[in-house]
């Protein structure tokens, strides 16, 4: 990325992020989001995360790859199970990355 694009990217991200944190705090009483907006906001994190995860495990190279030689899929499913059982983020990351590296090494050795 060239430096102008980088500047615009960071400035734009900073601006919109502050816009999600500041106005409701600063103008309390004058600016109250309606209840249905607050209800919808609750679904933002799981929807965004899922929309990020699914393509990166199912289509890591841009093509649908539901097969055992797709290390992203194998390690991703394993990580989901670990996250579900342990609810421990750090453990999920460490074991998930280890599974990814090992599975790739195993595929490379075959």
């Amino acid at each position: 990325m060239d430096s102008l694009s980088e500047f615009l990217l960071v400035a734009g991200m900073a601006l919109v992020t502050f816009a999600t944190r500041y106005p409701v705090l600063a103008f309390f009483g004058k600016l109250n989001p309606p209840p249905y907006v607050l209800q919808a906001l609750k679904f933002v994190p799981p929807a965004v995360l899922s929309a990020l995860i699914v393509p990166s495990v199912l289509l890591p190279e841009g093509e649908l790859a539901v097969q055992p030689n797709n290390a992203f899929l194998v390690a991703g499913v394993l990580a989901a199970l670990i996250a579900w059982r342990s609810k421990n983020l750090l453990l999920t990351i460490l074991l998930g990355m280890a599974a990814f590296v090992l599975w790739r090494a195993l595929l490379g050795a075959l």
Binding site: V16, G29, Q39, V54
Partner: protein, 251 residues
């Protein structure tokens, strides 16, 4: 809490102390973010890896200061998304902060802007969790905002430090080693670990499932707009699922 503990300094220090475990928990993400963002990771053969300069990566931590969206932005940049798409995606991902602001607003009503602006800027998931707990305590300490300030200052400093460590680590790893070390999977596995514990109700599960299915359908959309479109489908599905449940109380 005893009124003798209601000093600005005591609240500030107590806020710092309360957030220490969460700062430690954020360390790996700050480091992984810095490393992934500068290394560019691997892309399909014949394509160039789009990466960010160390200055841009550190600036993101300094001025945007929202971990999940920084991760996502780095991932989108790597996949050559347009700047406007990354900014708009950042807005959507960070909309949850509005929930935090709305929850804290009653406690900070009437405070001057020199307090509200920095407290708003530093309002991350971790700072919110720690400070709302303090505001909700029954004692009438007049300096609870100093507690939030203490938590915010430590979290902010930590995030800058971890980003820097990550940048230095990422710079020293040659690109062809990135896949072997599993860095290209780091962002995804972090998102998985964040998502799974969130799925506490049927509506949340439906929301995530719908977004995931839609993300595959919309994968081919130009400029990586598929993420936004899929997220909107997921949010709509969650709202509808919750409404359907409200109508059938025993369903």
């Amino acid at each position: 809490m005893h009124p003798s503990n209601w000093t600005r300094r005591a609240e500030f220090v107590r806020g710092m102390r309360a957030i220490v475990p969460l700062v430690i928990g954020a360390a790996p993400f700050g480091i992984i973010f810095g490393a992934v963002a500068v290394s560019g990771g691997v892309v399909a053969e014949g394509e160039t890896a789009h990466q960010l300069s160390p200055l841009a990566v550190q600036s993101m931590s300094l001025f945007v200061y929202a971990g999940a969206s920084q991760f996502i932005a780095a991932e989108l940049v790597r996949n050559a998304a347009a700047v406007l798409v990354v900014i708009f995606t950042t807005l959507i991902v960070n909309l949850r902060h509005t929930l935090y602001s709305a929850s804290l607003a009653p406690y900070l009503h009437g405070f001057p802007q020199r307090w509200l602006a920095p407290l708003a800027f530093g309002l991350t998931d971790e700072v919110f969790v720690v400070s709302i707990a303090r505001y909700q305590q029954a004692d009438s300490s007049p300096y609870k905002h100093w507690y939030q300030a203490g938590a915010a200052v430590l979290m902010y400093s930590g995030w800058q430090f971890f980003t820097l460590i990550g940048i230095l680590a990422g710079r020293s790893i040659p690109p062809e080693q990135v896949a072997r070390l599993g860095l290209s999977f780091a962002a995804t596995v972090t998102f998985i670990g964040m998502l799974i514990p969130m799925l506490q109700s049927r509506a949340l599960l439906i929301s995530a499932a719908a977004a995931g299915a839609a993300s595959v359908l919309f994968y081919g959309l130009p400029n990586r707009l598929g993420l936004l479109a899929a997220a909107l489908v997921g949010i709509a599905a969650g709202v509808l699922a919750e409404r359907a449940k409200a109508r059938v109380p025993h369903g």
